[in-house]
């Protein structure tokens, strides 16, 4: 299980994956908007998305867990 965390504070702009979906390492799974910039969030590992913890429009803080990827 690997947690994908927010690198900085911002708002969830898009959620590109759904729970149960297979993802590849390096894939952009969520895009945040912060300081008027799009901040792509990549998963470091490939696997199945176990949970997506945020919705479009949510405010997230640095280090908040956005999603969890299982092996």
């Amino acid at each position: 299980m690997t947690q994908v965390k927010a690198a900085m504070a911002g708002t969830v702009f898009t959620v590109n994956v759904a729970e149960g979906e297979e993802v590849q390492a390096g894939q952009v799974i969520i895009v945040l908007e912060s300081m008027k910039m799009e901040i792509p969030v990549e998963t470091e590992i490939g696997g199945k998305v176990t949970s997506v913890n945020v919705q479009v429009g949510d405010f997230v803080n640095e280090e908040d867990v956005l999603a969890v990827i299982g092996e």
Binding site: M8, A9, S34, M37, I39, P40
Partner: protein
Amino acid sequence: MTNMTEQTVYNEKLNERLEKVLSGGHPKYHEKLKEQNKLFVRDRLKLLFDDGKYMEDGRFANCEADDLPADGVVTAMGQVNGQTVCVMANDSTVKAGSWGSRTVEKIIRIQEIAEKNRVPMLYLVDSAGARITDQLEMFPNRRGAGRIFHNQVRLSGFIPQICLLFGPSAAGGAYIPAFCDIVIMVEGNASMYLGSPRMAEKVIGEKVTLEEMGGARMHCSVSGCGDVLVESEEQAISEARRYLGFFPANFTEKPSVIDAVAAKTGRSLEEIIPENQNAPFDMYEAINALIDADSFFDIKKLFAPELITGLARIEGQPVGIVANQPKVKGGVLFVDSADKAAKFITLCDAFSIPLLFLADVPGFMIGTKVERDGIIRHGAKLIMAMSSATVPKISVVVRKAYGAGLYAMAGPAFEPDVCIALPTAQIAVMGPEAAVNAVYSNKIEAIEDPKEKIAFVQAKHKEYKEEIDIYKMASELIIDEIIAPSDLRSVLADRFRFYSTKELPLPPKKHPVYPV
């Protein structure tokens, strides 16, 4: 005949003593080195110096003791890329490279030699720290270990100081890397810590591994105490040689200009930089389009990667590059990125390496987290370093420079020698969306019809964009020049050549009051 025999006896004694000195510690410790993929100190030096040749002082230090050859440190002088340097190198086969009184005296003396001869000083560190049994002789006095750090501070900015960390650098010894211009760390073997994990468990009750607490990767990516992470000792030495090639022997000299090399072939700047101001792109690709192929020396690549700092060459001329990286955290400036840039700018300015700022920055980060971390104080550190740098400074607004981001990236008020914009560049207190929201939020909310609301916002965006139009900026002499991306490399090369005679005296005073 008698004379010859006596001579032979003397020579034999010398050879015998020398052999003992040159072979280092007990063979079992040499075995340990091999297990750890480490090189013996004298083999490190052979790799570092041109043709493996060096001179040495104090070889016979502590030779009356049986097991302390050279007292655990080699102090050497020789050439690297044809440039004279001084080196101190711990021998971890001798009492784990720990410091006795002669070890410390030797290190102090080689620093003094570097100062007198105005040549770079390299520290090849692999040491367990103080030899507790010798503390009275090596720790507290005027020429005790503290003097090493005092000398480092004296030498800082006078000559380049480089640390290659091959093993531990423990307790007080951890300040050797801290006072160097750059720290190269070997992954898996190098570490820095004030208190070992064993001490942390005893004194504060924390259970932690050495790698987590003071390992090379941690220091190069989290603490920022390390600058370059390498896989092997050979790579550490070749990187140190490459780094030295950018520097003069001391602050009175200028770095050498070498033959120009063409830029790496790849996509053009027009193709790399997206039109959409908010979309990310990879600044490394843009840097590669501007510099001589394979000349980039990345400093703190893994630490605060939203800002890139590194040495490079443009048509053979050395430059220090400070560039926002929109691909990471939108290129926004944070506490660590400000800190990283401040040290790098100070380094380049100290040794006459001109600076190139590539701005694509939405500003400094805002929010509770960074305010509590002291982003204003850290931002001030960056702005002070940039502002007081007197080397040639070229500021290029690649795509946008908003708010204090413009200031941090050597905007017009900070006396860059020239402020250049690409035709797509935007300069403003804030981006159009944020600005329109800030000024008209009450009015926008009051409009009930959604279509009317959108039309109003769009009209205001248009107005704002006209206000910050880059040609208007050039017309008002805010920026000095607008350049087509395809011409930027040759323009930078010409400009840096022109500014190479720049002299900018600062008002006389002792030193500024640093906002650290």
